[in-house]
Amino acid sequence: MTHEKLTMAQALNRALRDAMAEDPTVLMFGEDVGPLGGVFRITDGLTAEFGEERCFDTPLAESGIVGLAVGMAMNGMRPVVEMQFDAFAYPAFEQVVSHVAKLRNRTRGAVTVPMVIRVPYAGGIGGVEHHCDSSESYYAHTPGLHVLAPANAADAYGLLREAIASPDPVVFLEPKKLYWSKEEVDLAAPVPGIGRAAVVREGTDATLIAYGPSVPTALEAAEVAAQDGRSLQVVDVRSIVPFDDATVCDAVRSTGRAVVVAEAVGFASVSSEIVARVTERCFHSLAAPIRRVTGFDIPFPPPKLEHFQLPGVDRILDAVDDLQWEDS
């Protein structure tokens, strides 16, 4: 397989196409995902290629979409559903928490619901209210769900294929602002699977831990830091649940300092969980308390103010500067 230049949106589309071609039980449904191809065009061409029974529009009702998927998954299908935007997935929350996440548990494994809930998520695209939420903590707090957030096209393809093949339900968070970033991808090359983080930039002075939309920002910060003579390692969490303690902790131990970067509100969040986990496991390797650069504890601001909310290179580098270098 040769390398191709693909956007993340195209990579996701290819993952769906390939999965549907391989397995007739894989279905795609949601709002506007049929002939339109989804508002982000992730399902472009699927109805034409596989027919209306495999990729279809539903009535506008998110609980209905997820509840339908639960029943179809109970009865031999592997549904992939699209929530049109992060904040519009909330009507489905009861189905997600009480059924998608719990059916295996409730029935001692007799009923499983292999399904993928795709959620275009997070900010950075100048979206108006209700279109920019980072909702990962809600899902990560719910046992029974896998929660994935790719940060590049190769992972988008590889992780979505894995998510569809997984025997467990997956909430698949697609960073909207990365949909259109183009990359060289070899779709045939395997990527680390569910439950695996990846060191995406080597460095020796401190570790930036990020996922989804914050990974490119962290990489940019590392690049700038390198010009200033500071070597920052970057870990892409990729799989929020299950969380790869081993890779993340090994990375932090190797540098002794860490900053967690995430767009979501910081309070009671995935970022606070990462700090807690790493501190519990790596305390004696740490030269400084772990810092966080996250969204403020506010509703996502309007487009003209969103740059204040998004973790940026400067804020990340300021946090790195605060890692008590004077003591070392």
Binding site: S63, H99, T107, G144
Partner: protein, 361 residues
């Protein structure tokens, strides 16, 4: 499928084939004697099971029991009109429906006994796990039916809920999805007049709950929920229509919750005794018995025989619930995902360590 609103409307009065004294109304033919006798046998067993479960709560063997006492005809008919390849989606109140369909009552009561959240394999009898979050299971029923329809299987799904649950969003989403996709689901609402303490008038001022189908293009029908003959006819007809490709059907049974919501509830705080007393004479079991005795196909001997069979089931339930199952802490971690995550391995090890230290001390 029809879009003619008239054709979607339920009958003016709930369909009744046998009146409360056991006399046929003549509205339509009563199902044949064998069918009625089978229903009667199930009703006797159902009443006995409800009574037994209630007693087990008082003895502390069950945490709680939402009884279907008074609603047994609905429970029995919902299960008996289904074929082997059909599905039933029950709620917490529908223990008897699941048992009538063939699930071991001891397995159904595992939930309320507290050993686990569900005690039966839903695929063995095609009975979904009993759902507590109101109306959520109706969407699963639509999904199961739609998957079957896409594969060309003739499956019909019977989806149960209460009157209160018709106010939940999922009720409406389920009817609408089923209608839009033409899924063979029979939505069966047991209107027992109450949602815990809240009377029907606080749920809806629609002419009837069956009328709610009109808004979705789903035909509605109302039936006397204490007349097992009418229930068999109406639900059986709905299943047949769904199977014939006429799309989802909505049936509302008018019945009454004779006991409190559960044993933990005090119904005297919100309803009068004389209201309850008025329903005693409409008892579904007595009605079926009076009818069958009137037909001359049921005598004292058979009544005794059915009661003995019901006692046998009750004894099985007592025996099953009095058996203590040693809880296995590994169960806590084994069914969260297909495989334990590293974090769950750590947490399971923690529990194992606690236990080993307990054993040592």
């Amino acid at each position: 499928m029809t879009r003619d609103p008239e054709a979607l409307l339920p009958s003016a009065e709930p369909v009744m084939l046998i009146d409360p004294s056991g006399v046929p109304t003549g509205l339509a033919e009563v199902p044949d004697d064998d069918t009625m006798l089978a229903a009667y046998g199930a009703l006797v067993a159902a009443r006995r099971l409800n009574d037994q479960a209630y007693a087990l709560v008082r003895q502390g063997r069950l945490a709680v029991y939402p009884s279907s006492h008074g609603q047994e005809a609905c429970q029995v008919a919902a299960a008996q009109v289904l074929g082997a390849d059909d599905w039933l989606f029950p709620t917490y109140r529908d223990t008897v429906a699941a048992v009538t369909r063939g699930v071991d009552p001891v397995e159904v009561l595992v939930l309320l006994k507290g050993d686990w959240h569900s005690g039966y394999d839903p695929y063995r009898t095609k009975v979904g796990p009993q759902a507590t979050p109101l109306a959520t299971q109706l969407l699963h029923a639509v999904g199961v039916g739609y998957a079957a329809k896409l594969r060309g299987e003739p499956t019909v799904v019977m989806a149960l809920c209460g009157d209160g649950a018709t106010s939940e969003g999922d009720f409406h989403e389920a009817l609408n999805f089923a209608a839009v996709f033409g899924v063979p689901v029979v939505f069966f609402v047991q209107n027992n007049e109450y949602a815990i303490s809240v009377p029907l008038a606080r749920q809806s001022v629609a002419p009837s709950l069956a009328h709610k189908g009109v808004g979705y293009g789903v035909p509605g029908e109302r039936v006397d929920g204490n007349d097992v003959a009418a229930l068999l006819a109406v639900l059986g007809g709905a299943v047949a229509k769904a199977r014939a490709g006429e799309g989802p059907q909505l049936v509302e049974a008018h019945t009454y919750r004779m006991q409190a919501h559960t044993n933990a509830d005090d119904a005297t705080r919100y309803r009068q005794d004389d209201e309850v007393a008025a329903w005693v004479e409409r008892d579904p079991l007595m009605r079926a018995e009076a009818y069958l005795r009137g037909r001359g196909v049921l005598g004292d001997d058979q009544v005794t025989a059915y009661a003995a069979e019901a006692d046998r089931v009750a004894a099985h339930v007592r025996e099953g619930l009095n058996r203590d199952v040693e809880p296995n802490p590994d169960d806590l971690f084994d069914f969260v995902y297909a495989r334990r995550t590293p974090q769950l391995e750590e947490q399971a090890a923690l529990v194992a360590d606690e236990l080993s230290r307990e054993d040592a001390s």
